[in-house]
Assembly symmetry: C2
Homo-oligomer: 228 residues x 2
């Protein structure tokens, strides 16, 4: 597959964009990354995802695929030789999909809530909500990984990608709020998993640097404040 | 597979519950339907879906599977002999998943909005939003079905189940608001598709009767008004 046959329309701070890029790295598929300016979306983005007009979009040949987790499944099914991203057993697949949806529907909104909550009490409540959500995910980690390093076993799988893509923002959230969200006491499995995940060859070059992401988060917060 | 090995925890008015039951019917898998009282959830439901405490849950042997579309994929992968529910081609699978997510994220909230909107103008705006959403889906139908009766081709597939499960509520919404939502003028493909879908042997016994659903919707509306 020539590099130009696979393109990812994305933006470096987006956790959702990391999902297809990690999946392509796992499959050793070369791709061209087209950085989108979200203030002025490209014609290619608008044409490729006319319904939502959102990144990421994977363009394979001339076919656009949208929605980050759907793209990950597409990559797994298209470049179907090992390593597999989804587990092979139907029940394990359903479990991975369940927790990936949980991460998007519960963990991500809690992180967003911390970012926008105003006042000490509201921030504290939002942090607690996130911590509670992560404790449930710790339990899922113990069950899914069965003593192996990843949710997916010995290698990064679907749920690793789904949750791991938020780690950059989770670390920034820790820094901004002077709180430990993944720690030895409450989520020992996830704390260790996060280090191994971030150091993985498929991940380390696409995981944004914490300082750069923190700077970006400060700009976002200022824009939010100015728009009020 | 003995009937008692497969259970569905559900409630008859729920569009989400129809998804696993249609999928099981397509695969000719017998199942036991356990009607939940949502005012007083069963121990089995709370134990089977401790995270969301929501129906539907499929219990296969002693394993619970949650989230309606995840259950449909589980059924397709577990009873993997034909007929298939997901398309076989990865791009067609991604397309079906994309539009199924669209139905849940855009079409369903628009229907809900019509139900709760107050005042003539707000209702009109909500109806228009739904109609716009359905026109986009008509376009998807034309592309996916390629002249065949279903989104999935000659037989009911994943996206047929995802959207078709809302048809009962869509018809009730039409009745309550004296408006045609799927019609010959704006959505000719979907209008014809809806009739064929509802008459299908895998669907017709699990699709709620319109009058019964309309009565249920009236009770819901009264409860909502009383709780204000």
């Amino acid at each position: 597959m020539a590099k130009s046959d696979v393109k990812v329309l994305g933006a470096w701070p987006s956790p959702f964009v990391m999902r297809p890029t990690i999946a392509l790295n796992i499959k050793s598929v070369e791709y061209e990354f087209l950085q989108e300016d979200l203030g002025s979306k490209s014609e290619l983005l608008l044409k490729s995802n006319p319904v939502h007009k959102k990144i990421p979009v994977l363009i394979h040949g001339d076919k656009p695929v949208c929605e980050s987790l759907i793209i990950v499944e597409y990559i797994d099914e298209t470049w179907s030789s090992a390593p597999s991203i989804l587990p092979s057993d139907p029940y394990d697949r359903a479990t991975a999909r369940f927790w990936a949806a949980y991460v998007d529907d519960k963990v991500f909104p809690s992180m967003k809530e911390i970012f926008i909550a105003e006042g000490v009490e509201a921030k504290k409540a939002a942090i607690q909500q996130l911590v509670d959500g992560l404790i449930l995910l710790e339990d899922a980690y113990v069950k899914c990984s069965k003593g192996k390093p990843f949710f997916g076993g010995n290698q990064i799988g679907y749920l690793d990608i789904a949750f791991g893509s938020y780690l950059g923002w989770l670390i920034v959230t820790e820094k901004f709020n002077e709180v430990k969200l993944l720690d030895e006491a409450k989520t020992p499995g996830l704390a260790k998993w996060a280090d191994i995940f971030c150091a993985d060859p498929a991940v380390k070059d696409v995981m944004p640097e914490t300082d750069k992401l923190a700077e970006y988060a400060k700009v976002l917060a200022k824009m939010r404040a100015a728009s009020k």
